[in-house]
């Protein structure tokens, strides 16, 4: 019987078990090969598709590699000034509380220039979702040191490795915002293995679902790679991330709603 099964007989619409969601615009992503941004974009759009909230969602793009996120996500979007996405999202949600609102920000945007906006949106308990892609480097501008760059980690502005004595310590924003009474759900995920991708998607789903509850801000950090900035192959960068990033930025839920 199995001999009769041809390639052509399998590749049929009714047998399709996974395809790129239509909520991603049909164009090539501008990200480097192997970059986690693409995966995170796709997961988020899959979540909106499954929740059937495309027409009720407004996204806020950052400044950084994801500045062009609106080119790829087939939803209404605004592009915010550097670091200001949580303030922009605050107004969108306050003025249209029935909508789903998210920000999508990198580490420079969220944890350096936008620290105040991030902390205060979290502390006010804005009923939005913040998605935080942490790859420990400024990718867009060519690999400079980020607030989340690890001690000893090389970047174009810490060419001999980050010296904490002079350059300061990496900032664990996610642990920080988990302390604030306004955050409802805080988690750290990754998208570097199929298993982690599936977990990250569940977290994103929960973070968007939470907006229906009106109980505060959901914050999803995704520790990701920057193989261009780290000067590694995508496969090497994921291994390096496991060995170096995860010990400092451990994966898992940091603050979960008490039922």
């Amino acid at each position: 019987m199995s001999e009769n099964i041809t390639k052509e007989s399998i590749i049929k619409e009714e047998n399709c078990v996974y395809k790129r969601t239509n909520l991603l615009v049909d164009k090539a992503l501008s990200y480097c090969p192997g970059c986690g941004h693409g995966t995170a974009h796709r997961l988020l759009m899959e979540v909106l598709e499954e929740m059937n909230i495309q027409s009720e969602t407004i996204g806020i793009a950052p400044v950084g590699c994801a500045v062009l996120a609106y080119e790829f996500l087939d939803i209404d979007m605004q592009q915010a000034a550097h670091g200001r996405a949580p303030a922009v999202a605050t107004a969108v949600k306050r003025l249209m509380p029935e909508k789903f609102v998210f920000t999508y920000q990198g580490d420079g945007d969220l944890a350096a220039i936008g620290t105040a906006e991030t902390i205060h949106a979290c502390n006010r308990g804005e009923n939005i979702t913040i998605i935080f892609i942490n790859n420990g480097i400024y990718g867009m501008t060519g690999g400079q040191m980020a607030p989340t760059t690890l001690p000893g980690m090389k970047s174009s502005t810490s060419p001999y490795g980050r010296e904490v004595e002079t350059m300061g310590n990496p900032l664990k924003m996610t642990e920080l915002v988990a302390q604030l009474p306004g955050t409802y759900y805080v988690t750290r995920q990754s998208v570097h293995t199929p298993g982690n991708v599936r977990k990250a998607k569940k977290a994103l789903r929960k973070a968007m679902e939470n907006q229906k509850l009106n109980k505060g801000l959901s914050f999803v950090e995704i520790v990701s790679n920057c193989n261009s900035g780290w000067k590694m192959t995508p496969v090497q960068s994921n291994k390096w991330m496991e060995e170096n990033m995860f010990p400092f930025y451990p994966l898992g839920d940091i603050k979960v709603p008490v039922e």
């Binding site: 209404d76 107004a91 306050r94």
Partner: protein, 361 residues
């Protein structure tokens, strides 16, 4: 219903915002304009009209909240004073670049730096010439009374939405703090979702299957397209200059000398006109109401009639550059200014006219 009330200029801004159906106010306290936020917090408009009022963590956050709200087609405003307006400039540039309608109120205080909390007009350049980075203009309205503080909130929104451009109300601590009789216009309801869809079809309110997604951004990486965008902005500014010039002429018909002043300086000059006339000096006042667009043509024409012009401002001489450009050398234009929070008296303004223009070489 129209209503007569005695109120502070700053309160008039706040009350007018509620009455004109604003959807949101986002601000941060700073002297001398904190009454705007205080009044709104006390009034709790959310319970009456649904208007959102939020005290932001900074002026930076507040202007970006305005960006977010305006991008949803909502009628939103913010207010601040000079140092706070400097902080807002990045956001204002983004708002101008993304062509978002909103109202920004600057109750100017003396600078530079932290300066003083006393009134000044030293932010003229910042308001009229851009302020933030890039090629853009704000529509700038300069009220000279508490009445105009209220009326210009409504006018500011009307112009902002007409041209998809931020409008600034450039006032100062004198008008913000003083109390006057004001006839408040009748309340109008906030726009419904359907009205917003019609008025601002570009707004990010959720992509429905009947249209492409709406994107609000000021990023255009392709230089050729960015140039086209700036050309489009330029054409809009030309259109605004053609249609929206507003000014007030006071005793100009037979004037041999002219004061040019805006806002509270114009109030002082108006008194100086009366005093001058009592002394037999035929002096008039041109008060620009819109600082952008600037009333160039009327000044150009008046330059043929008068023997000299004294520009009076509470600064080192900023608008005087625009007056000189408008007059184009046809007649002598001098500046008289007090600054750092000092306010000129009508006597000294009249004396300045006599010394610098009438008796001057």
């Amino acid at each position: 219903m129209k209503e007569l009330r005695l109120m502070k200029g700053n309160e008039a801004i706040a009350e007018a915002a509620i009455r004109c159906g604003a959807d949101g106010y986002f601000g941060y306290p700073i002297t001398p304009q904190s009454e705007v936020l205080e009044y709104l917090m006390a009034e709790r408009p959310y319970e009456k009209t649904g208007m959102v009022v939020l005290q932001a963590e900074s002026e930076v956050a507040a202007i970006n909240m305005v960006y977010g709200g305006a991008a949803c087609g909502k009628k939103v405003l913010t207010s601040s004073s000079s140092p706070g307006i400097s902080l807002k400039q990045e956001g204002i540039s983004y708002i101008a670049g993304a062509e978002l309608p909103c109202v920004i109120v600057n109750v100017v205080r003396g600078g530079p730096g932290l300066g003083t909390i006393q009134p000044s007009q030293s932010d003229y350049f910042q308001a009229v010439k851009g302020g933030g980075h890039g090629d853009y203009r704000l529509i700038v309205l300069a009220p000279a009374s508490v009445q105009e503080m209220a009326d210009f909130v409504k006018l500011g929104f009307d112009l902002a939405f007409k041209y998809r451009n931020p409008a600034m109300i450039l006032t100062d601590g004198v008008i913000g703090q003083m109390m006057e009789k004001v006839e408040l216009f009748e309340s109008q309801p906030r726009l419904t979702k359907e009205e917003i869809l019609k008025q601002t079809p570009w707004a990010t309110v959720g992509k429905t299957p009947d249209r492409e997604r709406n994107i609000v951004t000021s990023l255009i990486l392709d230089s050729a397209i960015q140039e086209q965008h700036v050309n489009k902005l330029r054409d809009k500014y030309i259109e605004i200059e053609k249609n929206e010039v507003r000014y007030e002429k006071i005793q100009c018909d037979d004037a041999e000398y002219l004061f040019v002043a805006f806002g509270s300086s114009a109030r002082i000059c108006q008194k100086a006109v009366d005093m001058g006339r009592a002394k037999g000096i035929k002096v008039g006042l041109l008060r620009p109401i819109t600082l952008f667009p600037f009333p160039k043509q009327v000044l150009f024409e008046l330059a043929d009639q008068v023997k000299g012009i004294l520009d009076v401002e509470m600064n080192l001489g900023q608008m005087v550059e625009d007056v000189r450009l408008a007059v184009n050398g046809k007649v002598k234009v001098e500046h008289y200014g007090r600054y750092g929070g000092m306010i000129p008296s009508p006597d000294e303004v009249l004396l300045a006219l006599e010394n610098q223009i009438i008796g001057g070489k």
